[in-house]
């Protein structure tokens, strides 16, 4: 797509603007976007961490309220009211529910920050008793498959019984956190 302003270069910036409740969308090239001042890059001696996040999250760095990226920018946490765009601006979540509310959108950010997206460490005793059980069952299932592949059927049956026993300890209806 060509830039809607100069019509020469390829559009690389998609700007969604909401003014007085009216939504307008423009596709611009880098040059025109800068010239129109759609993106402000205020110079700050120290580069704030949250601006880094905006970049990693697919939000324009130093974005002001007027630039709302399409798609997930409108996401909002029902618990604390923080929007995904605001999260990009302040670099902090509002509450623990935000993680769930922003869901999959966070995965690229987490991957870039940590190179991973799955917790491998400590599991708290109380909040995690269910999680622990589930992890144990998971690893037993892997063991079961190994045993079957090795044709160690007697041992496999033992593992299977262990899994059944643990599964019966799982509270019905899934999670028991708290």
């Amino acid at each position: 797509m060509l830039c809607e302003r100069c019509g020469k270069k390829n559009a690389s910036v998609h700007v969604t603007k909401i003014t007085e409740g009216k939504k307008t969308e423009v596709y611009l090239c880098d040059h025109c976007a800068k010239e129109k001042g759609e993106f402000e890059f205020p110079f700050e001696g120290k580069f704030p961490l949250h601006q880094f996040f905006s970049g990693l999250m697919g939000l324009p760095a130093g974005s002001s309220e007027k630039v709302i990226p399409t798609g997930y920018g409108g996401l909002q946490c029902p618990e604390c009211g923080l929007t995904y765009t605001q999260f990009g601006q302040i670099g902090h979540f509002g509450c623990d529910r935000c993680y769930e509310s922003f869901g999959k959108n966070l995965l690229p950010l987490l991957r870039r920050l940590h190179g991973n997206q799955k917790h491998m460490g400590k599991i708290p005793a109380r909040a995690g008793s269910y999680v622990k059980l589930k992890k144990e069952i998971e690893s037993l299932r892997e063991e079961l498959q190994r045993k079957v592949a090795e044709e160690a059927f007697e041992e496999a049956a033992e593992v299977r019984d262990k899994i059944r026993k643990l599964e019966s300890e799982c509270p019905p209806g899934g999670e028991n956190l708290g």
Partner: protein, 375 residues
């Protein structure tokens, strides 16, 4: 010290400026004792290179906004809960005290900051934030900082495993009373995505003068940052590396277990220790007299300067420390060097003095305090 030197000491030309009134001296003595902390003892494994080890865990409560977005009421609830858990417990409460940040003077907040017991963020908080502190200051728990709880274990020398175990013990204790924000996939949920997962930040403070003197430091810093570790100055984020002191810490908190995280840091630290030891060996072989001279001169300046800024102090303390470590300078306990590192910071100087000091006055006061400490 031989007799001749001792005789000289009684004629110390600084005597006149270090003598205050008896009452003043007593108060300062008490305050100096207050500033001293367990991590400054200069003990523990590899203490000649690793000054201290820190492990901290970020934890939050379920169904409570994180402190930056929480209302005063919600923050008060969290604080009240922390008090109930830690200070009304028979086993824990005798060794713990709670300091409400808003009841502390700005100077005392800075003292806690300079002692590495609170963060810059907590030192500025006025809304229901607190520090829970164990009497040996090894364990400190910040309440309502960026996260609801930050449990820290600060030890002298290289003690990552112990640091993790101790912090984890307090974590278990807290978790028995508090519903944590924890997710099966993402682990411990934290206000900042850089801490999510284990919520663990492990760091070591290293003194690497020989690596700096043999001009290997830049090569090493870039290698360290390539294995997912961050390098900072003495006072954390955004601080310069002064006095050949640097802090190395893990960046990644998600996808690695706590053991992996501290063991990774441990193995990199061990390599740095080896490099530093080799470089020190090299310096001893090639420039023994130069290093001894440098240490001696540094000691002389510290002992007789009438005004001195904190950067210079840090460099001189580094020169002296290297001399002491290599056995080229005697009778200066490492504990004193560590304490001076903190004692000469602006907050501590003003606390010792009981009044606000301008930078110029601080330079004067710094010289006086060093005098007293080395006496």
């Amino acid at each position: 010290m031989d007799k001749e030197e001792r005789a000289e000491d009684t004629n110390n030309p600084m005597d006149e400026i270090i003598r205050g009134s008896e009452e003043e001296n007593k108060l300062q003595q008490t305050r100096r004792m207050e500033i001293a902390s367990k991590w400054m003892e200069g003990t523990g494994p590899e203490a000649d290179i690793v000054i201290s080890t820190r492990v901290r865990l970020a934890r939050n409560m379920r169904n409570f906004p994180f402190p930056p977005l929480a209302s005063d009421e919600q923050r008060e609830k969290v604080l009240k809960l922390a008090e109930d858990v830690f200070l009304k417990n028979e086993e824990k409460s005798p060794e713990l005290q709670i300091l409400n940040i808003n009841s502390l003077s700005p100077v005392y907040r800075q003292v806690l900051l300079e002692k590495h017991l609170i963060s810059p963020l907590l030192s500025k908080e006025n809304r229901f934030s607190a520090l829970i502190l164990r009497d040996d200051e090894v364990i400190s728990i910040m309440v309502n900082e960026e996260d609801h709880f930050r449990i820290q274990c600060l030890l002298p020398g290289l003690q990552l495993e112990k640091g993790w175990q101790e912090a984890s013990r307090y974590d278990d204790f807290l978790e028995a009373h508090v519903d944590y924000a924890f997710d099966e996939e993402k682990g411990y949920l934290t206000a900042c995505p850089t801490n999510v997962g284990t919520g663990l930040r492990a760091s070591v403070m290293l003194h690497l003068p020989a690596i700096v003197l043999t001009q290997q430091i830049n090569r090493i810093l870039s290698a360290v940052s390539q294995v997912g570790l961050a390098v900072r100055g003495l006072y954390g984020e955004g601080t310069e590396i002064v006095g050949n002191l640097l802090q190395i810490s893990n960046q990644i908190t998600l996808g690695q277990s706590e053991e992996e995280i501290w063991q990774n840091l441990y193995s990199v630290t061990s390599q740095l220790i080896n490099q530093e030891k080799n470089a020190r060996e090299h310096l001893l072989n090639e420039g023994r007299e130069k290093i001894a001279d440098r240490a001696g001169r540094a000691y002389g300046i510290l002992k007789y300067a009438r005004m001195i800024d904190s950067q210079e102090v840090m460099q001189l303390l580094s020169d002296i420390r290297l001399g002491v470590d290599l056995g080229l300078l005697k009778d200066v306990p490492v504990k004193v060097l560590n304490e001076l590192l903190v004692l000469t910071r602006p907050g501590c100087l003003q606390y010792l003095n009981g009044k606000t000091l301008s930078p110029y006055e601080r330079d004067l006061e710094r010289a006086v305090q060093i005098q007293k400490w080395l006496a």
